[in-house]
């Protein structure tokens, strides 16, 4: 599902051991993502759409992962959310 929007979406995560594999998975699946480091926080911006794929997180984590676990370490998001077993998507629909 493609979006034509280039407006920035973002996700901010606590900077800790639990989120490292999630951040790696985001980098891998979203080549346009820009990762900003702040004290105790990582904010990842991406134009239009950002996806977190369960399988990619599992590759980096080495165990099964329920995408709802992201909520424990999520600080904030921008964009419309669509969540399923396999993907957590943030996106804007309009340009």
């Amino acid at each position: 599902m493609a979006t034509t929007s280039t407006q920035p979406v973002f996700i901010a995560l606590q900077a800790n051991n639990d989120t490292m594999p999630i951040i790696e998975a985001i980098r891998q699946d979203n080549p346009n993502a820009v990762v900003h480091d702040y004290p105790a926080m990582v904010k990842i911006d991406c134009p239009g759409r950002l996806v977190i794929r369960r399988e990619t997180v599992e590759e980096h984590l080495g165990r099964e992962f329920d995408l709802r676990e992201i909520q424990v370490n999520m600080i904030s998001i921008a964009g419309n959310v669509d969540e399923s077993e396999d993907e957590f998507v943030l996106e804007w629909r309009s340009a």
């Binding site: 702040y38 004290p39 904010k43 709802r68 909520q71 999520m74 921008a78 419309n80 669509d82």
Partner: protein
């Protein structure tokens, strides 16, 4: 029921199916009582909802999953809070100026979380649709969490620093705390749809990132492990709430075209009211964090101008425009923090936290961050006040300021294009004149004057003699109205507020930690050990 149900293997349910089965069918059409007698508050605002089942749940949380994830967050958070308390973490922060910001937090923000809990609780009872009601219930519970975790975290600071020990009492009485109090009471006393647009969308979706992301990151940067932990843990709930906010807007706009102008009016109102409330954060970020992560104007650019821009571009397809008074917020971003701090400094004897003039180092930072405004308008003022302090005749403002009838800030803001002229507006209602601080607040007053004339404006109340404790005799020869008003508010005159230098907090800090109470100015007392020579410190007598 289907008899073949037990011969086939049980179906594997997806998250969406599981949620739908466990949630959607719970409600029913009542037939013994009229629907309008059960849900009494959903029609008077004029919002039209044709089909509550069209509500889309962004996070499909069943109660068991809620308990599981929230329980995990709480276990993590309280492990940190316990460690923080056991190891006296309150002394690990940069210096005790940082703690002055926490006073604003516990006295002014914690009770907002509580009011938010109660406001969402009303929606949790009154929305006829199962989906939005469950969303409101979970949010109500989350907001109770936020009030609770803030109290549990900051209680450790309250034991060692002044001015934090009477937060529920102060919230109801202190003059500048009527800014947050009136904000949330305005929302809760509105109808349920205005409340959810106000809080879930205008406040949480559009504005709270601005407050909590840079501020909490700043707390971490200043060594406050406990606050950053509750802050970011609370924000993980907020991410859900913000999503609720945008779903609410889409739901209302898609249900009926007649809802569009109502929603637009509420966005305009609550964006402005939320912006005025959060401007307090401008001061907390720019002046009260000894070590800074980001300036207010940068935060406004990232979190409103950029992200708000994306959001309103997305909503344009419904005919929604960006908030009417957004341009003023952009015009003010180089001024608000400085104007507020100046007012608080001036009336420092009448507030419940201590103030100080920015150090040379801090002013250099502000010159860099605010190249168009700081050196031109605010540096000369601070340098003049510094010279008065040095001369032993510090500047003080003995009268409490005129408050805005809507946002209840002192009328301290200036005209958008002219930072040397105060922005003052007036409206007439039933033969009386009411003062507001800006076009944004005047819009709000003029739309619903019958609501805002009831506002309990503390400065008016003080001057009318309504803010004295029982037994105080205003005719006594030694009667001091300001002193008595402070006592009524729960502020200890001469202890909780005033100058930071020489305050109990600054002096205790140096005694207890052997570190300077202001990292930019060096030690105020000789209790600060020469860190290069530990033997010298251990030889010195501790108090």
């Amino acid at each position: 029921m289907a008899a073949e149900g037990n011969s086939k293997p049980a179906k594997k349910l997806s998250l969406k199916e599981n949620y739908a089965l466990l949630t959607r069918g719970l409600g029913w059409e009542p037939s013994y009582e009229k629907k309008e007698d059960i849900f009494r508050y959903i029609s008077f605002e004029g919002v039209k909802i044709h089909d509550w089942d069209k509500w889309e749940d962004p996070f499909r949380l069943t109660m068991d999953a809620y308990w599981k994830y929230q329980g995990e967050k709480e276990r993590k958070l309280y492990a940190i809070v316990d460690a923080f308390q056991q190891h006296n973490g309150q002394f690990n922060v940069t210096d005790a100026r940082y703690v002055q910001a926490l006073k604003l937090f516990i006295n002014g923000i914690t009770e907002l979380e509580y009011d938010s809990h109660r406001g969402f609780n009303i929606l949790a009872r009154e929305f006829p649709g199962v989906g939005p009601r469950i969303a409101a219930q979970m949010q109500s519970l989350d907001e109770l969490r936020h009030a609770t975790t803030q109290i549990h975290t900051i209680s450790q600071y309250a034991k060692y620093f002044t001015g934090m020990n009477e937060f529920p009492y102060q919230f109801d009485r202190v003059w500048y705390l009527s800014i947050p109090k009136s904000f949330f009471e305005d929302a809760v006393t509105s109808g349920p749809f205005e409340f959810i647009v106000a809080i879930s969308f205008a406040f949480e979706y559009v504005l709270t990132n601005l407050a909590f992301m840079p501020w909490m990151s700043g707390a971490a940067f200043n060594g406050d492990m406990a606050t950053v932990s509750f802050g970011f843990s609370a924000q993980s709930d907020e991410a859900r709430h913000m999503t609720l906010g945008i779903e609410v807007i889409k739901f209302l706009l898609e249900q009926d075209p007649g809802n569009v102008p109502l929603v637009q009016k509420w966005i305009d109102k609550w964006f402005w009211r939320g912006y005025r409330l959060l401007s307090l954060l401008a001061t907390m970020m720019d002046y009260m964090l000894p070590k800074r992560v980001m300036a207010w104007n940068e935060a406004w650019e990232i979190y409103y101008e950029q992200n708000g821009g994306a959001l309103f571009a997305d909503l344009a397809r419904y005919g929604i425009k960006p908030p009417k008074r957004a341009p003023e917020t952009i015009a003010e971003k180089g001024h608000v923090a400085h104007q507020m701090w100046s007012v608080f400094y001036g009336v420092r004897d009448a507030v419940g936290f201590q103030t100080w003039l920015p150090s040379d180092e801090e002013m250099a930072w502000m010159s860099e961050k605010y190249p168009d405004t700081f050196d031109k308008y605010y540096r000369p003022r601070y340098e003049y006040w510094k010279s008065l302090e040095a001369a032993g005749t510090p500047f003080k403002n003995a009268t409490l300021p005129q408050l805005c009838q809507v946002c209840q800030w002192p009328c301290l803001f200036t005209e958008s294009g002219d930072p040397t002229t105060l922005s003052l507006r007036e409206s007439e209602y039933q033969g009386q004149t009411f003062h507001t601080c800006s076009d944004g607040c005047k819009d709000i007053f003029d739309d619903t004057p019958e609501k805002y004339v009831h506002a309990w404006l503390p400065v008016h109340q003080i001057y009318q003699g309504n803010c004295f404790l029982p037994g105080v005799d205003p005719t006594a020869p030694d009667f001091n109205p300001m002193y008595e008003a402070l006592r009524y508010m729960g502020i200890k005159p001469g202890i909780d507020g005033g100058d930071y230098k020489g305050s109990a907090d600054a002096t205790n800090w140096e005694n207890w930690t052997s570190r300077p109470a202001n990292i930019h100015e060096g030690a105020y007392t000789d209790a600060v050990r020469d860190t290069a020579n530990p033997a010298d410190a251990s030889a010195r007598k501790t108090s």
